[in-house]
Symmetry: C2
Subunit: 253 residues, 2 copies
């Protein structure tokens, strides 16, 4: 919950909009479930240190988006049912759950083309800048709703078999493996970013929506990079699950 000092009074967003967005996020994520009563105008204005007009406008905005119902004397009630928990992709070593994830989702190939490696891509693939690569941009769907955009870069001389048809049906790593490349391992980083307008449009969300970004370099048994993947998944539809093992110590926090 936000306190009176929590609003950014010099922010580009008007105060009512900041309150609207905070409450909207709580409703969409299920933290304020269907049927719950929201704070009254009076409570909201005290909580955020704003006028009642501002508080009312935030609640009106929620009603305008079909998220709440406002009834005189009774108050404001959530009328939106948050979707089921976002899909969880296990990034642990549970191969079966990964295969199941691949099977349950669909892929659309948005772009597939040869491209000279950009300066920030080349070194991660062990290539000289400008070296030939194949770049694929795919969107992954669950039940016809976009989950994420996956941009992959493969050195061109390793990219045999990566056709639009096969990429639609088969995970990229499986194609690489079938082409004779043994997967040795890799490294990945996980970050949260704000969607730029192009990604937002591709994923059917709004600009600045939070995305989870997974960058992964996969190499062969000799440590030679085979693939750089930059996947950006919608924060509201996708999250990662990871077991902690007793042998290791969980992160400092």
């Amino acid at each position: 919950m936000a306190g009176p000092s929590a609003l950014h009074r010099d922010d580009a967003l008007p105060l009512y909009q900041q309150i609207f967005l905070a409450l909207r996020d709580e409703i969409l994520s299920g933290r304020r479930p269907l049927g719950e009563n929201l704070p009254t105008e009076h409570d909201l204005s005290a909580l955020y240190g704003v006028s009642r007009i501002t508080a009312r406008r935030a609640l009106d905005e929620l009603a305008g988006h079909g998220l709440v119902e406002r009834r005189r004397r009774i108050g404001t009630r959530v009328i939106f049912r948050a979707p089921a928990t976002p899909i969880e992709a296990n990034i642990d070593q549970a191969i079966e759950s990964l295969i199941a994830f691949g099977r349950d989702t669909q892929v659309r190939v948005v772009a597939l083309a040869e491209e000279p490696a950009a300066d920030h891509i080349a070194p991660r693939l062990g290539l000289a800048p400008g070296a030939a690569t194949l770049r694929a941009l795919r969107v992954r769907y669950l039940d016809d709703a976009p989950l994420g955009a996956i941009e992959s870069h493969v050195p061109l001389h390793l990219s045999a078999g990566l056709t639009r048809e096969r990429l639609t049906e088969t995970p990229l790593l499986e194609i690489l493996r079938e082409s004779g490349h043994a997967i040795g391992g890799g490294t990945q980083t996980i970050a949260a970013i704000a969607a730029d307008p192009a990604r937002a449009a591709l994923l059917g969300t709004e600009p600045r929506a939070p995305l989870i970004r997974i960058e992964r370099v996969v190499h062969d048994l000799a440590g030679k990079p085979l693939l750089l993947t930059i996947a950006e998944y919608r924060g509201d539809r996708y999250r990662l699950a990871l077991d902690l093992h007793g042998a290791a110590r969980p992160a400092a926090d």
Copy 2:
């Protein structure tokens, strides 16, 4: 890069603001490094399908934030040096890097109080709703800059030793261990969310800034939950690193 169809024309944010924010993110993240020339007004207006006035206003806004320098006939140049790569926390089994992470960061205890377990907290700790817990809210800093907010819930009868003083000096899990609880393992999920106004204020960022959210339940050797932690780290300052091992197959993508 965004294309002409990428802007949300019915979005609450004006078009110039959407373009400004997209370019700002690219500069802050280092994707448009110090010294790089931005597209001209003319190019931007063609790229996004907006008027030159709108394109100019986006560039003016960047200049007003001290990110670019605009010079007639020469163009718009990035004058901001992106900070070094965000800190990476290894969530793999590399104990040494976790300890180093704990040592390199500082903690401030913002709140520490007994609290009845909320409905969404209780079952995850194996408690009845309303059961007594200790709730701690801490902010973790690196070089005096806030990295993330960490909310922890511990069943009250297990919370001996969790004082404000000790939490400032020692990781919570270490205190639990020193109090005689053997850590058996746990589960965690990783998601991207938008900062609500309160979190944004606590972390010195703006509302709706992307945060990486790590929820972790840690249990003892018998599988009994010891701790629920909800950590929210700034997307621009923190990311997770995770090795992929050859034995396992990387995620479907």
